[in-house]
């Protein structure tokens, strides 16, 4: 057990959650407090402070969950893009821009991304289990699907949220779910990946062939990592195993009775056997069993346990995590056969055990959520239905350097502290803390109480940062006190 010094316990609440509000009690048993939060899946929605769903959303705006609805929304978006493209040829430039904004930009870019970002942030702030949200952010980052390919904007949020229930199962099922989810198949182009000896090619229905995008990332990012020792031949064989796995949406190719979502199209699949990492995969019983068998083997491969244990520890503990911590998480991963709640509990236990000697810089998102939690302020409420002003949550995240959901590349947002440090990144935090100070300044009495509580909790007695905050408080410069609190090393790091 690490020393129970108050700043360390609070560091732990910032490490595995977003800190505690000034009026919240310090958990009596911090380890248990955190571990209990990964045992259930908390509901997610666009929430008010009291945890209820926000009632003032535009008509019809809600999170989509059912695959039929998700694929229908995706199809509608693609149709809208096609119609807009056609208009672009006939309409005068300005009128076209106006219509495009109304038909595409506002519904499918601004509102869609705002809706999901607001749900993610408000659930982290006002939901039942912020520790769970932290682990969800990890997995949504590990299996990154970002907008920007094939008009996939409406697939991103539903995919990321669909990972939540899988976090109570084992890694194999999560890996399978993420790999064959239509959002992943579209994002990494696998819906076009076609076997060169497939029936569709042999009979001349298509001129398509292989596309390695998902095959490579399945091995590199999702499971083994390059340290697993796979070769280009393994990437090519994995790619062939993935041929024919595509999305099914309600377009003109959809046959009645075929479920929407993931579809295995044997006519586009490469027949025969493929060998990956020395093991040959054949379809004896079911045509689609080759990929399922490969995913099972990848999930159970020792390199995958090592990769994930290390990545979890870098994400939650330190850029250079203690080797014992990585070894413990890896051991739990292997012994429990990838049971995710057990793995998550092990990570939390290692965070707690090593809290005094490790540190992580909060990502822009985690720091924003921490600022709001500690001050008790709410997220920006403005909804981008039109060009009216007001800060929007997802744009603010972009201003801070993490424009969720627009992650540039499939390897996700950086997980190492050093990648979140630059003059611009830090300057933006100082400036944003200044904006928060302006908001808080409207209720000076409450602001003083909050500053006293939070600086005592988080800043070490006798430290320079504490002295600076106290000095500012003593001269009634509440705004500087608040800004300095949130950009103090203690609150930038957890």
């Amino acid at each position: 057990m690490p020393p129970q010094a108050t700043p360390l316990v609070h560091r732990f609440t910032r490490r595995v959650a977003f800190g505690l509000r000034a009026d919240a009690q310090l958990p009596a048993d911090p380890l248990n407090w955190a571990q209990a939060q990964v045992a259930q899946v908390p509901p997610i929605d666009i929430l008010e402070r009291d945890g209820t769903r926000r009632a003032d959303l535009p008509e019809g705006m809600r999170l989509l969950w059912e695959m039929d609805e998700v694929m229908t929304a995706f199809h509608r978006h693609q149709e809208a893009e096609r119609a807009s493209f056609a208009k672009g040829r006939s309409l005068p430039r300005e009128q076209y821009a106006e219509e495009r904004k109304r038909e595409i930009e506002i519904p499918y870019h601004r509102l869609e991304h705002w809706k999901e970002a607001q749900a993610r942030a408000s659930t982290a702030l006002h939901g039942a289990a912020p520790v769970f949200e932290r682990f969800w952010h990890f997995w949504a980052n590990h299996f990154m699907v970002a907008p920007g390919n094939q008009n996939n904007d409406t697939l991103v949020g539903p995919f990321q949220r669909s990972l939540r229930t899988k976090m109570l199962g084992n890694f194999r099922d999560l890996l399978w779910h993420a790999t064959v989810h239509p959002a992943m198949l579209v994002y990494l182009d696998n819906n076009e990946n076609t076997g060169p000896r497939s029936r569709a090619v042999r009979e001349g229905w298509t001129r398509r062939s292989v596309n390695e995008n998902l095959g490579r990332e399945l091995l590199e990012l999702f499971s083994l990592s390059p340290e697993g020792g796979y070769t280009q031949q393994d990437v090519e064989a994995t790619t062939l195993l993935l041929t024919g796995w595509r999305d099914m949406k309600p377009d003109r190719h959809h046959k009645p009775g075929v479920p929407l979502g993931t579809y295995f199209d044997f006519n586009h699949h490469e027949p025969g056997a493929q060998t990956v990492m020395g093991k040959t995969y054949t379809a004896f019983v079911r045509q689609d069993s080759k990929l399922a068998d490969l995913v099972t083997d990848l999930a159970q491969h020792p390199a995958t346990a090592r990769h994930l244990a290390r990545k979890l520890c870098v994400y939650f503990i330190d850029d250079e995590p203690p080797p014992q911590a990585v070894a413990h998480v890896e051991q739990v991963f292997r012994q429990s056969r990838g049971d995710l709640p057990a793995v998550h509990r092990a990570v939390i236990e290692m965070c707690w055990a090593h809290i005094a000697s490790t540190r992580k810089l909060a990502s822009p998102e985690a720091w924003l959520l921490q600022c709001l939690t500690l001050t008790g302020l709410d997220l920006p409420r403005a909804i981008p239905v039109d060009d009216r002003g007001g800060i929007k949550t997802h744009y603010l995240l972009g201003d801070l350097g993490q424009p969720i959901p627009r992650c540039p590349q499939p390897n996700g947002w950086p997980i190492r502290s050093v990648d979140w440090i630059s003059k611009e990144l830090m300057d933006r935090r100082v400036r944003y803390a200044g904006l928060l100070s302006n908001d808080l300044g409207r209720q000076p009495a409450a602001m003083v109480r909050m500053l006293e509580v939070q600086s005592e909790r988080h800043l070490a007695e006798g430290s320079a940062e504490q002295a600076l905050v106290r000095t500012a408080l003593a001269r009634r410069d509440l705004r500087s006190a608040n800004t300095l609190l949130h950009v103090s090393p203690s609150l930038l790091w957890a």
């Binding site: 990494l188 062939s209 002003g389 007001g390 201003d399 003059k423 990144l425 933006r428 090393p489």
Partner: protein
Amino acid sequence: MKMDRRHFLRSASGLAALNFAAVPSAWASADADADAPRLLVVMLRGGMDGLTAVPPVGDADYEAIRPTIGIRGGLRLDGSFALHPAMKQLHQIWNDGQLAIVHATGFAYTGRSHFEGQDIMQSGMAKPYTSSSGWLGRAMQAAQAGGGVAISIPMPLILRGNHQASTQFPNWMPIPSEPVAQALTQVWASDPLLAPLAPVIQTESLRLRQTQGVRPDFATARSLPELGRLAAEEMRAPQGPRLGLIDFTHGFDTHASQGGDTGSHADLLATLDRVVAAFKTHMGPMWAKSLVVTVTEFGRTAAENGTTGTDHGVGSCCLLAGGLVHESRVYAQWQGLRKPQLFEGRDLPATTDVAAVYARVVERVFGLPPALINEQVLAHRKNPALKGLLDLG
């Protein structure tokens, strides 16, 4: 939060916060030679397809391996190569004798992973994830060439290792108040990673508070060509940074439907063309002392794949434009595009080590001796094919 962004943008302090170039930057080196060469590095992440950017039109096999996405309307360079038709300004620069191209080039790494490749293209090391500094950062540190600015919010690895390098990106948020800016130095004093940033933010806040300049175009300020302009505005100043960096953070990973003369890859090259043009225009006379260089993690498969795109490969091409180029020329050890001539039967090989190209760039711009570069900045294989590259005119 009630802050109205547009209202804020109309306010004087907001507009001042958007002005970058009116007075010298916080990181400008006091001892800078006003006439010293300037280097703009453009990172093209995702793996640029060298056979699209600079199609080998003289190679009889090119059309056969690129039936759908081959470039047909290329702008003529020499008998062997053309420039993609989207890069008209760069073609003008070629005609002015200021564009050098190295083709079939890349790092020694052949693992075809974006993320390992992007680490290597920045660290300049043989193996991924083995260095916390980048080759540009080390070069500037070795040359004691102060000042370097990444036009970006994060600090890319390629510039790390140079303690005076900084980042700059258009920002609408109000500058830190004076008491806060002053206290930062103390607040961050005990943190070695944060402490160096405090004086930069402090000086810059001071400068922005004094500046009455107006930059009314925040909505477009973050487009890549505008960032090219911003880089030039910083770098052309007599005390300005010697090095600038523009980061295409994604986009070149064209696995599907990459297009040919037009389409998605063409659009990226058109943007690159506009970045270079904006930089050239705003450098003004300093263009004569400038060099723009592209960096990408790998090239792509020589043949198009089954989805009218290209998969991860090895060799690509590197563009070098500016007044420091004295002869327009394509440097290439070209083996051909038939299967046995390709790397592992599929990729354009990297017959020229691109580290040797960048070593030459560093030598020319920062005046470092080749032996030191090889030891401390970029280990590389010398290549006779590069003879003459960036020689004095």
